[in-house]
């Protein structure tokens, strides 16, 4: 899933301060799971904003909504008949949701309410970690199911570097060295000899470097 972190409330306030009718919009997908932008967080942020404006002596209308998904137009359309009641939307969806909201309601200013961070997993409640950077050309089959692009601080395709110490990364003693994990798993799979296969120079044109990407599937287009 997409993992997002909270944005400081001060930053949120700074963005929406000039407005008098604000819709706080959550998303029921990834950001709900990572507890950054679901219905619960919509309630918390809306309350904080109400409190802030009340203390400022400002009358500001703060409404709440949580979409099934903000990355799908059909769900965003739910707001169509009452969008004109608001002069700003604070979207707690990921960066994709925020932008799709803005595209759907071009005349309304839309502000991000979370910091979208990475594609990752829930290790335990309150701990989400990165697993994928969407490089567009998956090599997990060659690296024992552990991604060096997202999990090595230098995204080395042929690691580990000399800084790997006791299984940890040189940049942070809490961080596992991805290449140590790869080597351990190769061993477990009885494939340690695969370590010596050089992973060739990567084609980065399928990732961010190649410009904004799209997936087109003629076979499923209606």
């Amino acid at each position: 899933m997409i993992v997002a972190g909270k944005k400081p409330i001060e930053e949120i306030i700074e963005q929406v301060e000039p407005f008098s009718s604000i819709l706080v919009a959550g998303c029921n997908e990834c950001v709900t799971v990572c507890e950054a932008g679901g219905k619960k967080e919509v309630g918390v942020i809306a309350s904080a904003l109400r409190m802030y404006f009340m203390n400022q002596g400002k009358e500001v209308k703060i409404d709440e909504i949580t979409f099934e998904r903000q990355c799908d137009r059909e769900f965003l359309e739910e707001l169509r008949d009452r969008a004109d009641r608001y002069d700003a939307i604070l979207s707690l969806a990921c960066g994709a949701g925020v932008q799709f909201m803005a595209e759907t309601y071009p005349s309304l200013p839309v502000f991000p309410g979370v910091n979208t961070s990475f594609i990752g997993v829930t290790e335990q409640r309150g701990l989400w970690t990165e697993r994928c950077q969407g490089c567009g050309d998956c090599i997990l089959g060659r690296t024992a199911g552990i991604c060096p692009i997202s999990r090595c601080a230098k995204r080395l395709l042929n690691g580990p570097c000399g800084g790997s110490t006791k299984g940890k990364c040189e940049i942070n003693k809490e961080l596992d060295c991805a290449w140590q994990l790869i080597i351990e798993r190769l061993k477990e799979l009885g494939r340690l000899e695969d370590y010596e296969k050089i992973i060739p120079i990567k084609d980065w044109s399928c990732e961010r470097a190649g410009g904004p990407r799209k997936v087109v599937r003629e076979d499923v287009i209606l």
């Binding site: 580990p160 570097c161 800084g163 790997s164 370590y195 120079i201 990567k202």
Partner: protein, 309 residues
């Protein structure tokens, strides 16, 4: 071997123990900071590495510093990290170096930018160190850019890389060396050696696979200036193995004699490692202590340096 005009390559292929050292460029644009250091050591070494923004601290660029050495008749080893430049810039700099007849390159990935003066910087890592080895080799031997086009006057570079016999996991340290050899590396400069037993074990594993016949291994040494430095290296420098006995030995002498003791340890290490089959020379990294290199080389019995025929 590749038969480049590299003096370092000639010395090694002629069977001499090679001696290299290194200089860090200044944090400013005064070329004298480089040439002064080089003058101190040039008679005692075969080539001098110029580091490439080591520990990710911004400095005068490695290529320009190498040119300063070259113009003085000193043989440089161009260190190049893949952290800061993509494949276009790397290939371009390789050609730039070749245009000044710089004939040695050390291919590295580079320390993470977090350690330096710009921890908020983006890193590149378009290639890793093994890819950089492959790139130089292709440019030299096939005369082709990575993109496939022909190079007019291809670079003639003796290709080096680093190896750390002490980093984890130990079991892949030699397979990793084998990977670099397969990629085309011709000489290796190791991480600083303080744990000689462990180094010898690594060397043995390398010999068992015949790697010592495929690549020249220069043993890396850094003289300790003080007990404090020994502790710092042990505790704070990633991938460094400073055994307790070394720290004890340094701490066991009065402060004013510790530098002397550090030189002694370094010279003893040279004497012991000279006897290890597969050690083809020494890479002496006297960090901000370059003036000690001549003494270490002389006492290590590595002086005078041979003429490369």
């Amino acid at each position: 071997m590749s038969g480049t005009p590299s003096r370092l390559e000639k010395i090694l292929t002629q069977g001499h123990l090679a001696v290299t050292s290194e200089c860090g460029p200044p944090r400013g644009s005064d070329p004298e900071a480089i040439t002064k250091k080089a003058d101190m050591i040039k008679a005692h070494v075969d080539a001098i590495n110029i580091t490439d923004n080591q520990t990710s601290v911004t400095r005068l660029c490695s290529l320009a510093a190498c040119i300063h050495l070259k113009l003085k008749g000193v043989e440089p080893v161009l260190q190049m990290v893949t952290r800061d430049r993509n494949r276009i810039a790397l290939q371009s700099d390789i050609l730039g170096a070749s245009s000044f007849d710089i004939h040695n390159i050390l291919c590295l990935s580079g320390d993470h930018q977090q350690f330096g003066d710009n921890p908020k910087a983006q890193n590149v890592f378009d290639l890793d160190s093994i890819h950089l080895i492959q790139t130089v080799k292709q440019m030299r031997d096939e005369g082709k850019f990575l993109g496939g086009d022909d190079i007019n006057r291809p670079p003639k570079m003796f290709i080096g890389a680093a190896a750390n016999p002490f980093a984890d996991p130990f079991e892949i340290r030699v397979p990793r060396l084998a990977k670099k050899v397969a990629a085309g590396v011709e000489f290796i400069q190791t991480q600083c050696i303080y744990n000689l037993d462990r180094f010898e074990e690594w060397m043995k594993q390398a010999r068992d696979r015949g790697l010592h016949k495929k690549v020249f291994i220069l043993a890396g040494l850094t003289p300790l200036k003080s007990a404090g430095m020994a502790k710092y290296m042990r505790n704070r420098v990633p991938g460094m193995d400073v055994p307790e006995e070394v720290v004890k030995r340094m701490s066991g002498v009065p402060k004013e004699e510790q530098a002397r003791e550090g030189i002694k340890i370094c010279v003893e290490s040279i004497q012991r490692l000279k006897e290890v089959e597969g050690v083809s020379g020494f890479h002496i990294m006297a960090i901000e202590w370059e003036e000690m290199v001549p003494e270490i080389v002389e006492k290590g019995g590595l002086y005078p340096r041979p003429e490369a025929g």
